[in-house]
């Protein structure tokens, strides 16, 4: 393993404007989690679940702030570069490899959850590997087009799915707003517990670590990233609040995909049962997630292990299809989701603080050394 460059000099046609971070982060955050996060949070926080959503949203912005700070210690780098710089070749490499594994795990979890939805709602007989394969082919097609195509997909995914939030008007017709009262009945532990349960749904903004070298105007990174997270939070909050007033408590607990159930009552003169359209349309919402996580993992292969990116796009994707076929029941999926949420909580919500601390110590140490030498 030869030494890697910490700072990347990206060619100008690859760089993307900071504004697109809004779309990237939002589109990677919103995914399969949104289909049914309500009951998990509700179980912990009761009808104050929306406060938990708010807490987790604010928490995510704080983590984002730390991430941007960490990245700003360097000129133009990604997480792999920081790992190499801070932890050295071997430990840093190990950390990078672990992070790549996490990305692949996320890729797998997203596919498995979407497969579950397709099988439960649309085609019970359709093979899991088939759905997984079609999704993976799409992800490969995106990622092999490079970062420009991937970011473009994020952009259009957000643009084309933005109208879906308006569909929430339909369930409001059946709303009972008293369900939200009394506010703050759950105690702080429950609320925190609920915020923790949001992990699975709210993660995704950690891709900033990897997309950072491609951003043109670094000083605007924080602004647009935070806006992206705020928009996500707005979407989650609206969905959560509408779910709380549309369902009654125990009913929500029994509803696995509450968002899709919300769509069930939507009907237009030409089409009814909107969830059928919504579920298939969700493909456009999860494709950026799949593409981005795959890209992050593949990026690691070239940055850390100096391998040819292209071939690993195929290897990694094919690798993911195999476990999809082995996870069969709803229970397995739930267990996996719980397990993944635990890992994701560590990786996304705790690790950035550690990394920031270490990087900061290293930088100040170096700075002092430099000054002394002068």
């Amino acid at each position: 393993m030869t030494a890697m460059k910490i700072n990347l000099a990206e060619r100008p046609q690859h760089s993307i404007s900071a504004l697109l971070l809004f779309f990237i982060l939002h589109s990677v955050q919103v995914g399969v989690g949104l289909q049914g996060f309500q009951r998990i949070v509700f179980k912990s926080a009761g009808h104050d679940a929306w406060i938990s959503v708010l807490i987790s949203g604010i928490w995510s912005v704080i983590v984002l702030l730390i991430m941007v700070k960490t990245l700003s210690f360097y000129e133009n780098t990604d997480l792999y570069g920081i790992h190499f710089d801070v932890f050295g070749k071997w430990i840093g490499g190990l950390f990078s490899a672990l992070y790549m594994l996490y990305c692949l795990f996320a890729f797998f979890i997203i596919i498995r959850n979407y497969v579950e939805v397709i099988q439960a709602w649309l085609f019970p007989q359709l093979d899991a590997w088939f759905v997984a394969l079609t999704l993976v082919v799409m992800a490969i097609y995106t990622v092999s087009g490079g970062i420009r195509v991937l970011v473009g997909l994020c952009f259009f995914s957000v643009l084309f799915s933005a109208w879906m939030i308006l569909l929430l008007i339909f369930p409001i017709e059946y709303a009972d707003w008293r369900s939200l009262l009394p506010v703050m009945e759950a105690n702080i532990t429950h609320l925190m517990r609920g915020a923790y349960d949001m992990t699975f749904t709210i993660i995704g903004f950690e891709v900033l670590y990897f997309i950072n070298p491609y951003i043109k105007e670094k000083e605007k990174t924080l602004k647009f990233s935070a806006l992206g997270l705020a928009y996500t939070l707005f979407v989650y909050l609206s969905v959560m609040i509408v779910s709380l007033v549309y369902f009654s408590g125990a009913q929500l607990e029994n509803t696995i995909w509450a968002t899709l159930t919300l769509f069930k009552i939507i009907h237009f003169p030409f089409v009814e049962r909107f969830e059928y359209l919504a579920i298939t349309f969700w493909m456009l919402i999860i494709l950026p997630n799949l593409g981005m996580y795959l890209w992050c993992a593949v990026r690691g292969m070239s940055r850390v292990f100096h391998r040819n990116e292209k071939s690993y796009i195929y290897w990694f994707s094919l690798l993911i299809i195999i476990p999809v076929c082995f996870v069969k029941t709803r229970n397995d999926v739930n267990t996996l989701n719980g397990f993944f949420a635990k890992i994701a909580f560590g990786v996304v919500f705790c690790y950035p603080f550690l990394l920031f601390a270490v990087t900061w110590i290293k930088k100040t140490y170096k700075e002092r050394k430099r000054r002394k030498s002068i």
Binding site: D127, D176, R178, S248, A250
Partner: protein, 375 residues
């Protein structure tokens, strides 16, 4: 290019292996209405009657009515498949009927099975039938070619016009699971060659415990704030308008009004004693009054207004009293209690125990805004 044959192979294997079971519209029988009754032999089986839409322009009738007995609602569908030329599917189900005997035993298992099936809509109307569902579905109506569609339109029209509370499966499940309120369902009855909405069934969780007529049913909507406007008819007690009439009336006076605006507010006055205050605000216009009263005089108008107001208050009191005596709460007092008392930890069963002892005061603020284009 070497990859080309690989891609072709991939596409073909996908097409061959990824095929799913098609449900081509004209090759399936679509259940539009289903009715459940107790089996007569007392075996615990359910008797299911389904109206299956089988679109065929050559057939005399598009709708097949099939009756079978089985242990589960899905099992009944399987039995019906045995004598249908098309696979029977329930994705277009619009109305589910339950006989009142069944409803008194509890409907949650049926509702659960309807809600569990992703192909069934959330806006299936749940209705109670008298005496049996088979009686409604099995009858050969002269002027109704498709009983499923007919029932759906009957209910849909009346719900849209605010005649009855909306009884969708979603609202049923919501009421069933909610701690603080209970669902209601309309009662259907066959009257000769048509079907009539004969009243509103009060449910305690999923069990039918009481029955209101449709007029009283208004008050449920009125009190739980779901009433937007619609026609109402009252029979004012005899003699109540005498002071403003030229000569005494010795019969009850029928009055019809059209509600333009209404709002309702349920306040918890005393949490310990569970005392509630319901304030109803109704703005209406007079449609019909069957006595020669001169409404040109403002005093007379106010008088009529007050009489109607008292009438509404009395009826609302009666309906609330009746419902509470059946230990059911279709108005949502419990929800009001839960939402205003911190850490009440209200449960369904607890509230059903308490509900008969709560005290409710009704305030009515009624105003006649206009009397049509003539006085």
């Amino acid at each position: 290019m070497k990859t080309f044959p690989l891609i072709v192979l991939l596409i073909f294997s996908l097409i061959l292996s990824g095929c799913t079971e098609p449900k081509i519209l004209e090759r399936v029988g679509l259940i539009t209405a289903v009715g459940y009754d107790d089996a007569e032999d007392g075996s615990g089986k359910i008797k299911g009657t389904t109206a299956v839409l089988q679109v065929d322009p050559d057939a005399l009738q598009n709708v097949d009515i099939m009756t079978d007995e089985g242990y589960t609602s899905k099992g009944i569908v399987n039995l019906e498949n045995l004598r249908s030329s098309r696979k029977i599917r329930s994705g277009q189900l619009r109305v589910a009927l339950f006989s009142d005997r069944l409803a008194k035993k509890g409907l949650i298992n049926f509702a659960d099975s309807l809600a569990r099936d992703p192909s069934i809509s959330e806006i299936v109307y749940m209705c109670i039938t008298e005496p049996t569902s088979a009686d409604i579905l099995n009858h050969q109506y002269e002027n109704i070619p498709d009983i499923g569609e007919y029932l759906y339109r009957l209910l849909d029209q009346n719900i849209k016009n605010e005649e009855i509370p909306s009884p969708t499966i979603h609202e049923f499940m919501k009421g069933h699971y909610a701690a603080g309120f209970d669902p209601v369902a309309p009662i259907l009855k066959r009257k000769g060659e048509s079907v009539k909405i004969n009243g509103i069934a009060l449910m305690k969780n999923d069990k039918m415990v009481g029955k209101l007529n449709t007029k009283e049913g208004y008050y449920i909507k009125l009190i739980n704030g779901r009433y937007k406007g619609g026609n109402m008819e009252f029979l004012l007690p005899k003699g109540s308008l005498d002071p403003i009439l030229p000569k005494k009336e010795n019969k009850g006076i029928p009055v019809a009004i059209d509600t333009l605006q209404s709002s309702s507010k349920i306040d918890l006055i005393n949490a310990k004693e569970k005392k509630f205050n319901v304030s109803l605000k109704i703005r209406a216009r007079l449609l019909e009054i069957r006595v020669p009263v001169n409404l040109d005089v403002p005093k007379n108008m106010v008088f009529v207004q007050n009489v109607i107001q008292n009438k509404i208050k009395k009826q609302a009191d009666d309906v609330i009293k009746y419902a509470l005596s059946k230990e059911t709460d279709p108005f949502g007092f419990g929800e009001s209690y839960r939402s205003s008392v911190r850490n009440s930890n209200l449960t369904r069963d607890q509230w059903h125990k308490d509900v008969s002892s709560i005290k409710v005061n009704v305030d009515v603020d009624f105003k006649l805004l206009r009397t049509g284009v003539i006085d």
